[in-house]
Symmetry: D2
Subunit: 113 residues, 4 copies
């Protein structure tokens, strides 16, 4: 089987791509969109890094650990922002924060491997 | 839950991104790499379209069905090429063909939805 | 020189990637952001397709004409939306519409080649 | 005009995306493809990071300097590998090394800004 030791990290990154895009669009459709600008921007930044990390890991790239380190940082920043909106009942932000934390965790484990 | 009606199609596209990248690198490391050029090129083309399709679907884009149509075609072309190498024992091509066919199927179902 | 016959089309697609991202963020920072949702969503959709088109063309992919056809359609849709905001003084939308029309034109020429 | 202070860095990253893809395919079509594996793999890794950097910069992302730092490192690694093949007459590697060095330089300047 094509199974790299990084499979779970790749999957966490790809999940994060989809969920961050979905969170960005859901934020855009909230009445309070003006308060969610920073969230949308971080969502999109998170999509970009998670996509790159998934590609570099699945290409078995030389810089896999380096991209995971940066991916972890961006995912944590996005999660932190999303978490601010959970109390306001934004379910998409709750889910997104969860996916970002999970991805950050997977990146950290990958770096320690 | 952020659950679009296209969730399973997004997941199939993202699986295909990872597996096509992995197949490209595995082909590159085969002794017969010279015979696998077309396969590697289609793998990379498939990564590009599946990534775009996953993004457009998760952005709930207006052109979701159009990108799925093209994604289905490229996935089928990549699967067809990979299937030629299964008899030669290339497990990565077998797995890649399977992921591509699954993605093509998910795209077809999405278009019919 | 690595010069494909598609060089100008690749460049137009890549320009469009950067300008559509910049337009999305500029829209997000407008006071009227609530009226610019559709524009932001199309900007992001346009980024996804232009990125895929640039990749497939530069990989000399088999489906180059097909991706250009879809890229042309999405670029025209994005331009049409952006053009609605030019009269409101949104310079980023004027520039984005221009880049999208130029990319659509380059895709059309590439398809005719 | 949508002109970020990072415009020249964004352009250098996007140039690098196209040229690295083209170098990967050109390498794949060389008779000596078996000796160019590492080059192709680095080309693809470089595409992934340059794409992410161009996206994050054009989104005016919070992590712009961080992604530029990693982009600089990967571009230099890809350039170093490509430069080994210039003496063998591989024009695509010469051009690719040039684009990678230029991108690394633009990233360095951006980080210092």
């Amino acid at each position: 089987m094509i199974q790299t030791k990084f499979q779970s990290c790749i999957e966490a990154c790809l999940d994060c791509v989809a969920i961050c895009n979905q969170c960005a669009i859901a934020c855009l459709n909230e009445k309070e969109v003006a308060h969610l600008k920073k969230c949308i921007q971080l969502n999109l930044e998170c999509v970009a890094i998670c996509q790159a990390a998934a590609n570099i890991l699945s290409l078995d790239g030389k810089f896999s650990k380096d991209i995971c380190k940066l991916c972890m940082e961006i995912c944590n920043a996005c999660a932190e922002e999303c978490e601010k909106h959970v109390a306001m009942g934004m379910e998409h932000c709750r889910e997104c924060a969860e996916a970002c934390r999970k991805c950050a965790q997977a990146c950290e484990e990958m770096m320690a491997a």
